[in-house]
């Protein structure tokens, strides 16, 4: 609640163009020590009427986004993402509001006023803190280098400014979060710029810059896996949709790898696997559930298998069971019973594994086995939301 109020105040001060007070020079007490005095720059403010106009439009969008049902309010997760972001970009991180959005697709975006969105589908896919840091840094560079403003001026120079501006009217009408991001499609040169600078930013923050190209290697491999399971052509080199303005992914991998090589190897570089996993632990089940329900068998299986690189945990086995049961071919159901069994029998396994096991067994014709598993589920989760249906399927009195 406090946070919301603070954000509201920040947005309001931007709306009325009030200049925030400059952060003061370090106090005399600190200056007396041996440490050099740090003069923090005041937060950036829009400089002219073009930029003020852009900011005002986006402040209005942000006002709506802030109240959206899709914003994830989990304080611990938000604090974690902000912590990584501030580590990478330094004190200017205070100029940016990062919103973690519950949507299963892979995307992040930033508006010129400093409203950044990180989608939960991205958090499911970046594999460590270094990769998350790279995405945050990439978006920050768009903000820092005023890419939106440059695009706006360029468009106006071509006498298309009116058309460009009119799109802001559309925002109100269309409002879909994905479509807001479509407005800020940066040029390819700007994307390449953001990619290159992001590598430097994370390396200087102590993250392993070699992790950055991996994001796109993973993206390409996942696109291949999705296509293989669907029997379609891989869209890894399709530059449409969310990535229409970005350089082709193959090109990005090459450029980012070259960029990372500019830094001499350091044994102090971190990837931050463990803290990343810990930060996502509480949200992970709902993120993977969102992914399973996207009906993307190949891509989801690829993701789960990667996450299981250090061994199959009960939760991973359960997720795999859910994925196979959802597709529901006879072979899938047999495979799913195996995954559910592994999950259910492990200590600390999700109780829902018994439900999945029971339903899969019933569908493969093993009625006694299925009913027994469902009974176990009900014993362990007596307040299940589907208890009366499960009780009937378990052969109860319902």
């Amino acid at each position: 609640m406090m946070r919301r109020l603070a954000l509201g105040a920040a947005a309001m001060s931007m709306m009325i163009g009030e200049i925030a007070p400059a952060q003061t020079v370090s106090s005399p007490v600190i200056a007396a020590t041996a440490e050099p005095a740090v003069i923090a720059a005041p937060p950036y403010q829009p400089q002219d009427k073009d930029e003020r106009g852009l900011w005002m439009q986006m402040d209005e969008q942000e006002r709506q986004l802030r109240n959206s049902n899709f914003v994830i309010r989990d304080q611990a997760l938000n604090d974690y993402v902000r912590g990584v972001f501030c580590r990478v970009v330094g004190p200017r991180c205070s100029e940016i509001r990062v919103y973690v959005i519950r949507t299963a697709y892979f995307n992040a975006n930033i508006a010129p006023n400093g409203m950044m969105q990180i989608w939960s589908g991205l958090l499911l896919r970046t594999r460590n803190e270094a990769q998350l840091a790279a995405v945050l840094a990439h978006e920050y560079v768009h903000y820092q280098n005023h890419h939106s403003l440059m695009l706006f001026r360029e468009a106006r120079g071509r006498a298309a400014g009116a058309a460009w501006l009119s799109m802001f009217g559309l925002v109100g009408a269309l409002l879909a979060i994905g479509q807001i991001s479509a407005i800020f499609q940066f040029s390819r040169a700007q994307e390449a710029d953001a990619d290159a600078e992001s590598v430097g930013l994370i390396a200087r923050a102590g993250y392993d810059p070699r992790e950055v190209p991996k994001i796109w290697e993973q993206f390409r491999a996942e696109a291949d896996a999705t296509a293989a399971a669907r029997g379609t052509k891989s869209r890894k080199d399709k530059n449409g949709g969310l990535f229409a303005s970005h350089p082709p992914t193959a090109e990005r991998v090459t450029a980012l790898t070259a960029e990372a090589k500019k830094f001499s190897l350091s044994d102090k570089w971190q990837t931050g696997d463990a803290p990343y996993r810990a930060a996502l632990e509480a949200s992970w089940s709902s993120f993977i559930d969102d992914q399973v329900k996207l009906n993307d068998f190949g891509g989801t299986e690829f993701l789960i298998a990667y996450l299981a690189r250090d061994g199959w945990t009960p939760n991973l086995n359960y997720a795999r069971g859910e994925l196979y049961r959802a597709r529901g071919r006879p072979d899938d159901l047999k495979a799913a019973t195996g995954f559910y069994r592994d999950a259910a029998n492990a200590s600390g396994g999700p109780v829902e594994a018994w439900r999945g096991l029971g339903l899969s067994l019933l569908r493969t014709g093993d009625q006694p086995g299925g009913q027994a598993a469902l009974k176990t589920y009900l014993e362990r989760k007596p307040d299940a939301s589907d208890k009366s249906m499960i009780a009937m399927l378990a052969g109860g009195t319902q």
Binding site: F70, A104, T232, K293, L294, N295, R325, I390, L393
Partner: protein
């Protein structure tokens, strides 16, 4: 940005092209038994409803009282094995899950949830209860759900009642915004569901 302009133009073009179809509501008079969703499913409404001309799928049809975004009664009449609930309009990039005759009630609720999540692009949807029910005089199921469409933010509530008969799925869903509309039209919708016969 080109994409936005294109989207807007497409929107207008689609609007113009489909306007006659969208406007094609037909009165469903109360008290008259009527076959729905091109199937043998028969219902008898207790109030007048409006049937939408455009079908959500080959074996589906929608009725409304105040407009589809305010209350939506949709009939699925005999969805066959290995077919989708509604039109698979983005088959290549975002294919919908398919119904299987072996599905149990919880699987069907999940199929429904997944179909909605994919087609409206939301991650805010949940199945809130699943229970046994009688549908058209046969043993069936009933489940309730809630969802929010991304970018629209209206919380909607829904109820589905159905059964698998002869390997085909028959289902009637009713959904409306939680605020006012769900409660206001729930009774009219329920009486349609209760009148179902096959």
């Amino acid at each position: 940005m080109k994409r936005m302009t294109k989207l807007a133009l497409m929107g207008i073009a689609i609007g113009l092209a489909t306007a006659p179809a969208l406007a094609g509501y037909k009165l469903v008079p109360k008290g008259v038994p009527i076959a729905v969703a091109k199937s043998t499913l028969m219902v008898t409404p207790s109030t007048d409803w409006n049937r939408l001309g455009a079908r959500p799928g080959r074996n589906a049809e929608s009725w409304t009282l105040d407009g589809l975004t305010l209350d939506d009664l949709t009939f699925y009449g005999g969805i066959a094995n290995d077919t989708t609930l509604f039109r698979d309009s983005k088959k290549k990039t975002e294919p919908l899950p398919r119904f299987s005759s072996t599905m149990l009630a919880p699987d069907i609720a999940q199929l429904f949830e997944s179909s909605y999540r994919v087609s409206i692009g939301t991650s805010l949807m949940s199945i809130d209860s699943v229970e046994p029910a009688t549908f058209a005089g046969r043993p069936g199921f009933h489940f309730s759900y809630t969802f929010v469409i991304q970018g629209e933010e209206v919380k909607r509530k829904g109820e589905a009642t159905g059964a698998v008969i002869g390997g085909k799925l028959y289902l009637i869903t009713f959904e409306a915004p939680v605020i006012h509309y769900f409660d206001a039209t729930h009774g009219a919708a329920k009486s349609v569901v209760d009148s179902a016969k096959i």
